[in-house]
């Protein structure tokens, strides 16, 4: 009984502690101004291969944008296009950028200098999917204060490596055969002993 009471007390304490979840400074995509113009080198619908092909991303400040004194850094990311987000909660778009899972792959994060470009080789761990490019302007604390992205209907495809190597295939075959052979061997011995 005493033990049960202790367990309940512990539960209450933990729940209470959990209630006071810390709230952090949050940036919301819908509230950010679109002040950057972003273009990427692949043509719309082009297929790029992981580990081999390169893309060049160019960004610049929109002519009609206000001042950019706040922009200290620019962060360029690959973002999943809606077709690759369908039925995949782990790639879902959230307005709260702390929870947002759309743009998971960083192309570059560098000091802001008005306009710039970067050439990026598609990494080997970028999954096979459809992407577009987005650039965030970050302030000194690293919070997003503005952004820009490629045109609305623009996207390109990445085809990744499968990860299967010849040695893996061979190993799988050898180990499987060994397992079956061991079983057959022991059954054979059983039969021999039975007949003796």
């Amino acid at each position: 009984m005493a033990r049960q009471a202790m367990v309940m007390a512990l539960l209450v304490v933990v729940l209470a502690a959990g209630c006071c979840a810390p709230a952090g400074a949050a940036a919301y995509l819908s509230k950010l101004p679109v002040t950057l113009e972003v273009t990427a080198s692949p043509t719309s619908g082009e297929v790029l291969h992981g580990g081999e092909d390169e893309i060049t991303v160019t960004w610049s400040l929109n002519a009609t944008a206000g001042d950019d004194k706040e922009y200290k850094k620019v962060k360029v990311s690959l973002c999943y296009a809606p077709v690759s987000q369908k039925e995949r909660e782990w790639r879902k778009t959230h307005d709260d950028l702390k929870k947002d899972k759309t743009c998971q792959f960083k192309v570059t994060e560098q000091a802001y200098a008005g306009a710039g470009n970067v050439t990026y080789r598609v990494a080997l761990d970028i999954p096979t999917a459809t992407y577009y490019v987005r650039a965030y302007a970050l302030d000194a604390s690293g919070t997003q204060v503005a952004y820009g992205q490629t045109a609305t209907n623009y996207s390109f495809n990445v085809v990744s490596i499968t990860g299967v190597t010849t040695s893996i295939k061979v190993a799988a075959g050898v180990f499987s055969a060994f397992s079956i052979a061991s079983l057959a061997f022991f059954f054979f011995i059983e039969k021999r002993k039975k007949n003796n």
Partner: protein, 514 residues
């Protein structure tokens, strides 16, 4: 297993040197359980069986902790993942039923090693898959290996005397289930190590699958090389000498399916063990996605769920035995209902506290203890439901566990219909509802949850009804009759006769052969 009755009381067996280091009863079943010993054949059988079953759990649940990588490599959708999770536990539904029969015919050593070795190719081929369909297929075939649960329980019941069989079964089952927890830690660690050695992520997870595969292969080979079915030898020898009578499958089947208690326990086991399997499949991904922890942390949390099995399931078995010593079978039934219902309540709470990471972890740990203890408590009751069809009823209960896992995942964790935390909440409600049928279980000689025993009903009568007149005359039910004598304690404190202790061996009989 049934034996022909031993020669009458006063015949003294020729003095023979003690064959076993561990003390045994007159059926050569161990009367003690030495956890840290490998004494042959009893304790070595225990270690071989729990470890090989552990390896099967490791292989079956090797994919979930790596899902964040596998889903990107293969382009899986939420539905693909859900379907594969269902497939991983559905194969064993029928495999467990078949395993009960296979143990009867060929012995637990050959039956378990066969299914374990035959499923290893599925584990190795997990390294070379490339489509959602192939992912589903490898998980389906790997899951067949979970049928080895039935062989561990059967093997322990052959090796250990009734006073210790509950503990042996509970530890073997619990330490095997541990694999489902340990693997959630193991796979991320192996993955990191392989990545550090230079592999890309999409190759590293594939290489990681060889660890469970190799563990499974060598544990099964050890079972074949060092294991022994019964204390006196392997099946082929016992069948040859006529020490074992072979029952017919048709009779065993009939007495299993016509016993309503077997169906109720199969249903309720689906809501403790089945829930455990479902959670093994979803918990790492849930913590990774909901709370943004990294793969290692998600694996650690998921592991702690399964690792509770070290003590929770054996604890459930011990609790069942203790309740029986105070209140008989009615105590066992009440214990199971209470513990499993509390598990359901905690599951509801887990679905509700998703706003807090710390609370979710704490509730999940508590939930794991109760749900797994309920599994141990279930198998404190199963051995008493039937003697003739013990193997098949164990298989039905075990299979029912897997059906529960399938149903739970189909209804709540497939596709994007429910958010995971909502699914967990509804799963808790379903646990509470599906545990209620326990109130309907009634043993005429011992009572049920709400009613006492029928006056004059005896255990002998209950068990002997499983045989016909002619069969009883031939003595097929002798071991069941012995079991009935030894289960007199299940009637509660008033019915246990003071003079007969379960630990002494009466001169003309021996503790039942289970």
């Amino acid at each position: 297993m049934e034996r022909q009755s031993k020669p009458a009381a006063m015949e003294v067996e020729p003095a023979s040197k003690p064959k076993f280091r561990i003390p045994v009863d007159s059926d050569n079943q161990a009367t003690e359980f030495w956890l840290f010993s490998f004494a042959r054949p009893h304790m070595s059988a225990f270690h071989l069986s729990w470890f090989s079953f552990f390896c099967c759990f490791v292989s079956t649940f090797a994919a979930p902790p790596l899902l964040p990588l596998i889903r990107d490599t293969l382009g899986l959708t939420a539905k693909d993942i859900g379907n594969a999770g269902i497939a991983s536990v559905s194969g064993a539904v029928f495999a467990r039923l078949a395993m009960g029969t296979a143990c009867d015919l060929a012995g637990p050593r050959l039956a378990s090693a066969a299914i374990i070795l035959l499923t290893t190719p599925a584990v190795y081929c997990s390294a070379i898959i490339n489509t959602p369909t192939s992912f589903l297929l490898v998980r389906f075939f790997t899951g067949f290996s979970l049928a080895s649960f039935v062989s561990t329980q059967f093997w322990m019941s052959s090796m250990f005397s009734p006073p210790k069989v509950g503990l042996a079964n509970g530890v073997a089952g619990g330490w095997g289930n541990l694999g489902g927890g340990a693997v959630q830690l193991l796979m991320p660690v192996v993955f990191s190590a392989v990545k550090k050695m230079g592999s890309t992520p999409f190759t590293a997870w594939r290489i990681a699958f060889f660890i469970p595969g190799v563990m499974q292969t060598f544990s099964a080979i050890a079972v074949l090389a060092f294991g022994q079915d019964m204390p006196d030898g392997n099946y082929r020898k016992l069948h040859k000498t006529g020490d074992m009578h072979k029952d017919s499958f048709a009779n065993v089947l009939r007495h299993a399916v016509t016993n309503y208690r077997a169906w109720i326990l199969a249903l309720t086991y689906g809501y403790c063990f089945g829930v455990e399997l479902a959670v093994d499949n979803i918990v790492a991904q849930y913590f990774y996605d909901r709370f943004d922890v990294n793969l290692h942390t998600a694996g650690l949390i998921a592991a702690s769920f399964g690792m509770a099995n070290i003590i929770s399931r054996p604890g459930g078995g011990l609790m069942s035995d203790w309740l029986s010593s105070r209140f008989g079978m009615r105590g066992r039934l009440w214990g199971l209902w209470t513990v499993q219902t509390i598990g359901g309540v905690l599951c509801v709470v887990l679905g509700v506290v998703d706003y807090s990471f710390a609370a979710s972890v704490a509730v999940m740990v508590l939930f794991s203890f109760f749900v797994q203890a309920a599994c141990g408590l279930t198998f404190g009751i199963v051995p008493f439901v039937s003697r003739r069809s013990l193997g098949l009823i164990s298989g039905m209960t075990g299979g029912g566990g897997n059906v529960g896992a399938v149903l739970t995942q189909v209804i709540f964790f497939r596709g994007s219909k429910y958010k995971t935390e909502t699914g967990i909440l509804y799963m808790g409600i379903m646990i509470i509802a599906c545990t209620l049928p326990l109130t309907l279980i009634y043993f005429p000689q011992w009572g049920g949850m709400f009613t006492g025993p029928r006056p004059g009903a005896t255990a002998e009568e209950y068990y002997s009804l499983e045989w016909t007149e002619q069969e009883r005359e031939k003595g097929y039910n002798v071991s069941a009759a012995r079991f009935a004598e030894n289960s007199v304690r299940e009637g509660g404190p008033k019915s246990a006769s003071g003079s007969r202790s379960r630990h002494t061996v009466p001169v003309d009989g021996s503790p039942a052969d289970v």
